[in-house]
């Protein structure tokens, strides 16, 4: 089973000042983080805490200002898969062609593998349809199936459910858990939703504004987890409570943080 080892040491990222004469923007102050093995890790934090910057550095879109980042499977660079905030499917290609578009191989094997992943997100029979014929939630399910189907060592997910309504998002979390339980990829999942993070993750990294690690919480529950499971709900309440303790001034502050 492929799995990645992510090693981040003293990472700092500073963007040049947006205006002439202004101050440079510190997106990430100092982050050191190790992720190893078949774990589902969420990165939680308010807007502007450097979540997306962290993901962009891991994917190679951005380069660190200082510090080191390595993402490896054994001795080779890890193969990455992506799920974005929106589905990002080619509208002029069918669902199946979209699945095959990102693969290294083609032919029968690729096709049957793509079909298998579509089936796991409940979208068998849609291969010949165009993305425009699917609802937003179904398109995002194709996006998730596509990311898993490239058999990545590390899967980067950037708030994949934030654009969907609550009911669709809940159903997609269930689909994601089915896929993850079956494949056990190393996942780095960025979200601003603590409740979602608790349901999905083995470990939650909380970032504070300014780009530092605020907390590192292990979640020790069996997968897959149902949102209505009392154990999940209790843990969600407990962790939300911890946030409140850290910010005694109350819910307003909590909303700012989470």
């Amino acid at each position: 089973m492929n799995m990645a080892r992510v090693d981040i040491q003293n990472l700092k990222k500073v963007f040049p000042a947006p205006q002439k004469g202004g101050d440079p923007v510190v997106a990430i102050e100092d982050i050191s983080l190790e992720v190893d093995g078949n774990v589902f890790v969420s990165v939680v934090g308010p807007s502007g805490c450097g979540k997306s910057t962290l993901l962009n550095i891991l994917s190679g879109v951005e380069t660190p200002s200082s510090g080191t980042v390595s993402v490896k499977e054994g001795d080779r660079p890890a193969r990455l898969g992506y799920v974005f905030q929106d589905a990002r499917l080619l509208p002029w290609r069918t669902v199946m062609d979209n699945m095959l578009y990102v693969r290294d191989d083609d032919g029968k094997t690729a096709q049957s593998s793509a079909e298998r992943y579509l089936e796991m997100v409940g979208l068998n029979h849609t291969g010949e349809m165009f993305p425009g014929q699917l609802s937003g939630g179904m398109q995002q399910r194709v996006g998730i199936a596509r990311a898993f189907s490239v058999e990545p060592d590390l899967l980067l997910m950037d708030e994949p459910f934030s654009h969907l309504d609550a009911i669709t998002a809940r159903s997609l979390r269930d689909h994601l858990q089915v896929l993850w339980t079956a494949t056990r990829k190393t996942v780095l999942f960025v979200t601003h939703d603590v409740v979602e993070a608790v349901q999905l993750s083995d470990r939650i990294i909380v970032l504070a504004p300014g780009g530092r690690i605020f907390d590192d919480i292990a979640i020790d529950l069996e997968h897959p987890r149902r949102a209505a499971d009392p154990k999940v709900a209790t843990l969600q309440a407990e962790i939300l409570g911890r946030f409140e303790e850290m910010h005694p001034s109350g819910t307003a502050n909590l909303e700012n943080l989470v």
Binding site: Y82, L90, W92, R93, G122, L123, M129, Q133, M138
Partner: protein, 290 residues
């Protein structure tokens, strides 16, 4: 039992069947044509100088079959028609290739857009007859005038549409392709080319319709052969049934071309944008909970 009464009804008799046929789309189209021909015939009763449908049909038969129009004049349909098609294709090619290239340029570069967009818009608003006049002034009676009229009239329609197609390739889709390490050749085929194809067909369709108008005018003013020239020939000869006959040829050609080829090509290339939802699709959507 009431639900099956329709199938139990006795077979529809003759007049009922005609009525059923008339309300189908094809029946309605045929009705419109018949009504038009009847109205046309009525107009000739009021205005005797207007040639009627029968005399125009007779003229066209002589012209197409190469028979005698009386005197030394014989039918020359195919010569003129082929001549126009050759010039038309050449003009379309001369308008299409730069239209495609400049469309890609405008669609992909903001500077190119700022530089060229207004010029293309001005060209877009110029009616084809302006090009017919201008090219006749520049080249006189020549083959260049009709060819360039088609080229100038069609060029901006290709450009505008291709530019729109290129703009539909969003940075998000490009980033996605890069993130998944999709090879450049596959990106070109499935991202760039596939995005632009539908718009190219749409542009080509407009270009053909506009260019076809342009060539009639240009050949009328500056042609020595061709559909426009022959139309004017009969007009100048005071033979109005010849004039009307050629105008009909002109119209029928573009309608048939559009209905049978261009419209279908465009619809096929834009299948992803305006999919015809079939019953099968609906069943699929219900199966997957759409």
């Amino acid at each position: 039992m009431s639900s099956s009464s329709a199938t139990l009804a006795p077979p529809v008799a003759g007049p009922g069947r005609v009525r059923q046929f008339l309300v189908t789309p094809i029946g309605a189209q045929l009705t419109a044509i018949v009504v038009f021909i009847i109205l046309w015939q009525l107009v000739t009763v009021i205005a005797p100088r207007v040639p009627g449908p029968v005399s125009v049909a007779q003229f066209l038969w002589v012209e197409i079959s190469g028979g005698s129009h009386g005197g030394v004049v014989t039918g020359e349909f195919w010569e003129h028609f082929a001549h126009t098609l050759r010039h038309f294709s050449l003009g379309l090619l001369i308008g299409f290739v730069p239209g495609l290239l400049i469309g890609v340029l405008i669609g992909s570069s903001r500077i190119a857009q700022a530089l060229l967009n207004d010029t293309v818009l001005v060209l877009l608003t110029l009616p084809a007859f302006v090009w017919a006049f201008l090219t006749t002034m520049w080249f006189g009676v020549s083959w260049q005038a009709p060819v360039l009229t088609v080229a100038f009239a069609s060029f901006p329609f290709v450009t505008i549409n291709v530019a729109q197609g290129v703009r539909s390739i969003t940075p998000e889709l490009k980033n996605m392709s890069r993130a998944f390490d999709v090879p450049r050749r596959r990106q070109f085929r499935h991202l760039t080319l596939a995005a632009v194809t539908g718009y190219v067909f749409a542009g080509l369709r407009f270009a053909i319709i506009i260019g076809w108008n342009g060539i009639l005018l240009s050949e009328w003013f500056a042609g020595q052969d061709g559909v426009g020239f022959r139309t004017r020939y009969w007009f100048d000869a005071n033979r109005y049934r010849g004039f009307v006959g050629w105008v009909i040829v002109f119209i029928v050609f573009i309608i048939v071309l559009d209905r049978l080829i261009l419209n279908r090509l465009q619809r096929r290339a834009f299948r992803w944008r305006d999919p015809v939802e079939t019953d099968a699709d609906q069943v699929k959507l219900e199966q997957v909970g759409g």
